[in-house]
């Protein structure tokens, strides 16, 4: 009997690494057909409907892109810290705080403000809010090595309670004063609303793309990005090169939080028009999925967010043919499982027991 054992690959397989997102999606679709068959639906029909619903019409496409926007940004937020092995899983909370600050600035500026000024102020306020909220975690993490996973996770609960308080638990300016029985967020003035491009798609999408490419450029072409890559690869080498790791951790947190905060701002200035707590949950966590599907590449979050958005936004149409909408969440989860599995095979492969181990590889290396 020959046992199968795992062996670490010398270098991650290159072709496999490029094909992985596609394989993951295909694998998830195959796995996803199991629950579909169980509820008596035809998987091919369902997938065809998902495709036409998400991309089959101008409205479908603009809806998909609109919903992709916030998760693209929270995905980017995850990428910026994850690549350095710092785990900011607080994009959720940073997005919520970004929504609070951007809505706050828009409401404070009021109706009379110059539109261009109001837009810039609202966007910057959102980024700054998210950034500072991330900064609250960055400082103890960088200074005393406090576990950032625990901190950011806790901060998510804090911000959730805070936005709920602002709208449901108090008479703050964020709450629509006339909504008595069903509390809602106060609509921001039109001068602070992001102009529509087509359908629901608004200017926020352009801003989002600019920020994605800006972060990609920062990581690839700047001195900051070079230092980032050294710290990401080897903390030891970074120390010897005199790179200030405190600074790198803090700046990456601030940028990460800024991206997530922008996600809050484009929601408030765009589709929501208000700081609406019910619409501001789950986006940060989906962002982690986006980052994973995008292979931790800053530009990779663009297609990844669009794919995930397409799956979710086709939910209502699926319901019309008798497929429950929550099934789209099941599909998302399956994709994550398949990616995690694929990621594993990128680094390891199955071999028969008694075959090489890493030690021997080192010896035979050129």
């Amino acid at each position: 009997m020959r046992r199968l054992v795992l062996e670490q690959r010398a270098t991650p397989s290159r072709t496999f690494s490029l094909a992985l997102p596609v394989l993951s999606a295909v694998g998830a679709l195959i796995l996803g057909s199991i629950p579909l068959v169980l509820i008596g639906a035809d998987p091919i029909e369902v997938y065809r409907l998902m495709l036409t619903s998400a991309f089959g019409s101008t409205r479908g496409i603009t809806d998909t892109l609109t919903d992709a926007m916030p998760i693209m940004l929270t995905g980017l937020a995850a990428v910026v810290t994850f690549r350095m092995n710092v785990w900011n899983i607080g994009a959720e909370g940073q997005l919520q705080i970004g929504a609070v600050t951007s809505a706050g600035v828009a409401l404070w500026l009021g109706d009379g403000a110059n539109t261009a000024f109001a837009l810039v102020a609202m966007i910057l306020a959102g980024m700054l809010g998210g950034s500072l909220y991330a900064g609250l975690v960055a400082l103890p993490t960088a200074t005393w090595k406090v576990d950032e996973v625990v901190l950011t996770l806790m901060m998510n609960f804090l911000s959730l309670a805070f936005i709920n308080y602002l709208v449901f638990g108090s008479h703050s300016p964020w709450r629509d004063a006339f909504s008595i029985s069903f509390p809602r967020g106060q609509l921001i003035p039109d001068s602070s609303r992001l102009p529509d491009l087509s359908g629901r798609l608004n200017l926020g999408f352009v801003i989002t793309l600019v920020v994605v490419f800006l972060v990609a450029w920062l990581l690839k072409y700047t001195v900051w990005g070079y230092e980032y890559s050294v710290v990401a690869d080897s903390r030891g080498a970074a120390s010897f090169a005199g790179i200030n790791q405190w600074r790198m951790i803090v700046t990456s947190f601030l940028i990460s939080g800024g991206c997530a905060g922008l996600g809050g701002a484009v929601l408030v200035g765009g589709t929501l028009g208000a700081m609406e707590p019910r619409a501001l949950t789950g986006l940060g966590f989906t962002g982690i999925l986006v980052a994973a599907l995008g292979r931790m590449s800053p530009t990779g979050v663009i297609p990844a967010a669009i794919v995930l958005s397409a799956i979710v936004s086709s939910g209502p149409d699926l319901q019309q043919i008798g497929v429950p909408a929550p099934l789209t969440v099941v599909l998302q989860g399956l994709i994550l499982v398949v990616i995690a599995g694929g990621e594993f095979h990128l680094r390891y492969r199955l071999v028969r027991a008694g075959s090489p181990a890493r030690q021997a590889h080192r010896e035979s290396a050129p």
Partner: protein
């Protein structure tokens, strides 16, 4: 013993093995007799360890057969091998520090009954130790033992399991000269008891002192089997390397300079547990001089090097640097132009001219996932032309890489491939190129040739010696006495963070220095 005359202890025939499609062993025959110490000589990567790992059941051969005492065997695990009386002592010990000697020796022994009677076990361990002249107390914690003692426990562990073929993988690399002699005495006792001992090594002098025959391997093949008394050292080297190794470049006497480039006074450094690691360290290095620092790893070298790199806080004491010919630092320096660099940041020390060859070259010396170019600019990327206003210049990095690749003969690892795919020697050349191209005043080199094959060792030494001509001073931290004797103009011996003695080349002597390294007195043991 299985010494029924005529039978071979080990007979491996036509053994081949490949890893990742790369051939590590090609059709190797290997024979060991009962009652002999058989050396296995070869450079890193020649296949010595792979061959022995197959013998000890860690890997399985792709092809070929193994006979132990004439019987055909097929080991699927080290456990199978031990049942056939074949055991191996690995370079990294597999002992539990929190256990006593006796507990470690019987750990994993399938003959143990469910109910342990420690007094009996300790007695049996003590008996086995006495039989092979191994001096140990079964009740002591392994964590309290020296490296040499731990190695003997590993051997004892095999003997207690009745191993008759013992493989020792580079056993001397961690030992002091006196411990090496003791190991050789134990090996001799094993030989006399009729067992077979296989000694993996790449140090020719050691083989001569301990072994009967030698099998020489090169690039996964067996190139010769010889009696040691029939072969000269030159021939052994030639067979092992496949070419002649040039002796290190001869060097001129260092230019006299009355003031040292680097001057360390009363340096105290603690380790992460807050214990004293470097204890009132005094030293000075002059222009064009190599100061050797001898010592067994773990005696304060790491903390000393990190303190000099600005990575560890200095508790007390001063480090002063005088750039040769640099009288321009009048503002910050004292009358003689020396600058107090104690407690400076790592970046500050780089800029002022202290370069480092760290001991852990793959984890600290390079960012192993980045390419050669990115690694070469790691100590200068913030300066023009490599970057301008916060933006890196890819073409400048490429130009730097092309220049240094030529100057330092760095081979392999094209653009965008991680530097980790390079050989150890080439990685070390990347580090040397990066550090020396900054024209440093002082280079602090920690174990710069450790684990490299002979060609690369000669190369690294040549590069360091060549650097002296530019007036650079070198601090060479090493535990290889041979290297220190060849390279150093002066030698300091470090033990438990203290300077035990200082030597001039005329007084270099293995015994004296070795005794000081292990904390003994200079008179020798």
């Amino acid at each position: 013993m299985g010494g029924s005359s005529g039978r071979l202890a080990v007979e491996m025939t036509g053994v081949s093995k490949s890893f990742f499609g790369q051939s590590a062993l090609t059709d190797v025959d290997f024979e060991v007799r009962w009652g002999e110490v058989h050396a296995l000589l070869g450079e890193n990567g020649a296949g010595k360890s792979a061959l022995c790992s197959i013998l000890a059941g860690l890997y399985r051969a792709d092809q070929g057969s193994i006979r132990i005492d004439g019987d055909l065997v097929d080991f699927r695990s080290p456990h199978d091998a031990l049942n056939a009386h074949v055991g191996m002592v690995y370079q990294e010990f597999r002992l539990v520090n929190e256990f006593t000697v006796a507990e470690n020796v019987v750990l994993g022994d399938p003959r143990l009954s469910r109910r342990l009677k420690w007094s009996e076990l300790e007695e049996s361990v003590a008996e086995a130790a006495a039989a092979y002249d191994i001096d140990t107390d079964p009740r002591r914690l392994v964590g309290d033992l020296s490296v040499g003692e731990r190695q003997r426990i590993e051997i004892l562990k095999l003997l207690h399991r009745d191993a008759r073929v013992l493989v020792l993988d580079e056993p001397t690399s961690v030992l002091t000269p006196s411990e090496v002699r003791e190991l050789f005495r134990s090996m001799d006792a094993l030989r006399r008891s009729g067992r077979a001992v296989i000694l993996i090594s790449h140090k020719i002098n050691e083989l001569r002192a301990s072994s009967d025959r030698v099998t020489i391997m090169r690039q996964g093949r067996r190139v010769a089997v010889e009696k040691l008394e029939d072969i000269t050292n030159d021939d052994l080297t030639r067979l092992m390397v496949g070419r002649k190794i040039a002796a290190p470049r001869t060097r001129q006497a260092p230019p006299a300079l009355d003031r040292p480039v680097l001057e360390v006074r009363g340096l105290n450094v603690t380790n992460q547990d807050g214990r004293v690691a470097v204890d009132s360290f005094d030293a000075e290095v002059h222009q064009g001089e190599i100061l050797g620092i001898a010592g067994i790893a773990g005696n304060g070298q790491r903390e000393l090097v990190e303190a000099l790199a600005g990575l560890k806080p200095v508790q007390s004491g001063t480090v002063r640097l005088q750039r040769p010919g640099g009288a321009s630092e009048e503002d910050s320096g004292d009358a003689a132009g020396a600058i107090d660099v104690t407690g400076m940041s790592p970046r500050g020390l780089i800029e002022i001219g202290i370069a480092h060859i760290p001991e852990d070259r793959r984890a600290v010396g390079v960012a192993s996932g980045l390419d050669v170019g990115a690694n070469l600019c790691m100590k200068s990327y913030w300066k023009e032309p490599l970057s301008r206003r916060g933006v890196m210049s890819r073409s400048a990095v490429r130009t730097l890489e092309e220049g240094l690749r030529g100057d330092f003969d760095i081979r392999g690892g094209n653009r965008n491939l991680p530097v980790s795919i390079l050989s150890g020697g080439n990685i070390q050349k990347v580090i040397l190129a990066r550090e020396l191209s900054q024209s440093p005043a002082v280079v602090i080199a920690a174990y710069p040739t450790r684990g490299l094959d002979l060609g690369a060792v000669a190369n690294v030494r040549d590069i360091l010696i060549g650097q002296l001509e530019t007036g650079t001073a070198v601090v060479l931290v090493s535990e290889d006495l041979e290297e220190l004797f060849i390279m150093s103009d002066r030698l300091i011996v470090l033990h438990a963070g203290r300077i035990m003695g200082e030597f001039e080349p005329a007084d270099y002597d293995r015994e004296t220095v070795g005794a000081l390294m292990s904390g003994g007195v200079a008179a020798g043991d």
